[in-house]
Subunit: 450 residues, 2 copies
């Protein structure tokens, strides 16, 4: 079976009426913001495009708008997957165009500061209006980073520092620790680990890559850390037919997590944190029940491990809530939540108690980019003003009903239909079927993703 | 002794005349682009600023221009260090203001693409005008990344893949490799390493951090890889007085490098690459002779290790050449050169033979940011038009002469004066003297850095 990711849209074109009232803007050549449907002029990729390596086709971003991506051959396609889940409110949104045209914003786009030492005057206000306005429950601290991998890498480091501080208790850092860390040795560099799940994806830098287990092509030939890896539940669909089986499967995985934590401790390879996606995205849109995540969170608390929820792909609203972990309904969902993609900047939220005990411990030259925060502020305004979270719930329901209908009508093509909000996917019987389906769908003007 | 980094400027204010002819621009409130000197209104940080953790003070970027950084209290300071060596041609350069105001550039700033799969129409042209116009000798391939750490992380991965391919020869990838890499194990994840130098700094994500050895605060409590670390030459100054001693010191370090490579191989911990900065920057502005680097390069070739030159801090012109490694005068200087900071985007150049053998092996969602390439194109134009490389040579000479004069006059304060172009530094007898000197210099309107 091969998974096919259907949609990551927050502003689904299933709901044209939500967008057509937006005002005319001079850089948008037509008199309504949104296009009214796909228009195909050639096969994709067309003659003016090229596809080599990973490139699908070349794009005309000036002509793209709303949910529609236009290629260099003039084909206008509904971008259901919004690039790699990374375009928050569509192409050339008038609100973002205005941000770029405001003279007072200009400076932020050309004077990228070293944010950790020389922040701009308005940076605190800017953070309050952007990231701090959507901070997850209990996580009042935020740091920005340049991308998703850097966000997870630095979140891991934050967790290691926090864990070591707990272990150290009232003892001071020793000279032996200071000396040994400079040459990558114990005790300055302790034998800590982050527990991850088979099928998970948390990025491709070397710390992240040790917790990523979705495809061999990401990991082959790269040295790694010997960190524990737990199974992620493999649910059977339709869910209502396999209640008992799925419950048992989740229990098995939770037991394995606890077992790994205990066994690692016996070998003095301490699990400092657990990292998980609310929906395993890159690894095949694998879901688990809210109950599974609540129980996993309880295991983390019981064993003193930090719980890191990676919302790089799930954050930003496509699941119908701003953060996918809100579906779990918890007051204390995590120690750290990482983000990137739709958030336009990477970064992470964390609890006060994880704040580093000295400056420069979590640091780099740029620490994000304030110009992205300015864009994010406007994106968040649009999400509120256009009620896009409810839009994702409503459009997601229509989409899911359609997919379930397909599943009944074309069982030889479509199985395991699943999703939350518009974050939907299904399986095809094999890779060939999937590739054909993607290509045929694209040539009808709809971009979906593998 | 404590090192004090004096300057990373490409557009030194020692040369006011090079800038004063630039035309009036409406977002710049005065009728010349450059200010004519520092103006101090309060001590720094002043009453409207704050300094906490690493933050020095808050900045008014709209009012800053050229070499002068203005804080929120209206203090105008000569930013000799250009943030963290990261502002290429000063604040609010009129050429960059124009880039933001061109309607055809707007789309690139608001529609950040997933560059690896859906590049913009003009991306190849854009790369030719920006990064490929300054590619180091023999390195025709380029990839962009979001920051310096991601650049080095991905360069390491490129080197591991290239090395493994050489070792594999005509053999195919085995199923055992594919299966074992998914769980972080040998042989899929081989026991390869990158050899680094004491005092080096290559970033703070976990792969990079294993090669960073400048300050304990970066590394304490973070698990690491057991990779080999060689000594970097500790040169004695003035160089002309210690010719024999310095030559012996460099020979000792080179011998140690070769010894480490051989010993690692005996333990089956293969050195796949060597990473080095042309000037160890974060670690204290440590220089070595051009001859040292040429001999080190020869050792890398002899043992089949990739040579990775990290130009994240040295690249962009401050040493008087665009890339600091050009001072070595070699036709085959490296397999990979990484960059970030003054280049506005992270990334790396590499030889054709290091190109990955399959798509998605080196990949992430954004793979840089085309809007930064557009800014970089203009930065490179300014560097050419204003002849800034020669400016750095000329101003660097004036600066160095002044520092050598200080060293004669104030030997109790200034020692080991060293530099290349404007990339200059000196030592003070202790941390207290250094801190006082930075503070007093800042309150006279000059920002230098520790």
């Amino acid at each position: 079976m091969a998974s096919l990711f259907l949609c990551r849209q927050l502003t689904p074109a299933l709901q044209h009426n939500t967008r057509s009232l937006l005002s005319f803007h001079r850089y948008i050549h037509q008199n309504v913001y949104e296009y009214d449907g796909p228009v195909m002029k050639t096969e994709v990729p067309g003659p003016r495009s090229r596809n080599a390596d990973a490139v699908n086709f070349f794009c005309d971003y000036e002509e793209s708008r709303g949910n529609y991506l236009v290629d260099v051959d003039g084909n206008r396609m509904l971008d259901l997957y919004s690039q790699i889940s990374s375009i928050p409110i569509g192409y050339n949104h008038p609100a973002l165009v205005k941000v770029l045209q405001k003279p007072q914003n200009l400076s932020a786009f050309i004077n990228r500061p070293a944010l950790g030492i020389l922040p701009p005057d308005d940076f605190n206000v800017n953070l309050k209006e952007s990231l701090l306005s959507i901070s997850p429950k209990g996580l009042q601290q935020v740091m920005t980073m340049s991308c998703g991998s850097c966000s997870n890498e630095n979140a891991f480091k934050l967790i290691f520092m926090w864990f070591r501080k707990k272990e150290r208790g009232l003892n001071m850092v020793t000279q032996e620790e200071l000396d040994s860390c400079m040459i990558n040795k114990f005790p300055g560099c302790p034998d800590y680990s982050i527990l991850s799940f088979m099928g998970g994806f948390h990025g491709r830098t070397m710390g992240c890559l040790a917790t990523t287990h979705s495809k061999a092509i990401h990991k082959l030939d790269i040295p790694s850390f010997d960190w524990p890896i737990a199974p992620f539940p493999k649910l059977k669909y339709p869910l209502e037919q396999f209640v008992k089986e799925n419950k048992d499967e989740e229990a098995r995985c939770l037991e394995e997590v606890e077992d790994l934590i205990v066994k690692c401790r016996e070998k003095n390879k301490i699990v400092a944190g657990i990292v998980i996606e609310p929906i395993q995205s890159e690894g095949g849109d694998n879901h688990a029940s809210d109950d599974f995540f609540r129980k996993l969170r309880a295991i983390a608390i019981k064993h003193g491990c930090a719980f890191l929820v990676d919302e790089v792909q799930t954050g930003g609203g496509a699941t119908g809530k701003f953060w996918a972990h809100e579906h779990w309904g918890m007051d204390n969902p995590a120690e750290v939540v990482t983000f990137s993609k739709k958030m336009m900047t990477g970064g992470f939220f964390h609890k006060d108690e994880l704040r580093p005990d000295a400056p420069y411990r979590i640091f780099n030259t740029w620490l994000g980019d304030p110009s992205k925060n300015i864009l994010l502020t406007e994106v968040l305004n649009v999400i509120k003003q256009e009620d896009l979270l409810n839009n994702a719930v409503h459009a997601g329901k229509i989409l899911m009903d359609g997919l379930l209908d397909f599943q009944v009508r074309y069982p030889h093509l479509v199985s395991r239909v699943r999703g939350r909000g518009t974050f939907c996917s299904f399986d095809t019987p094999d890779d060939v079927t999937r590739t054909n389906l993607i290509s045929q769908t694209r040539n009808k003007g709809n971009i979906i993703y593998v």
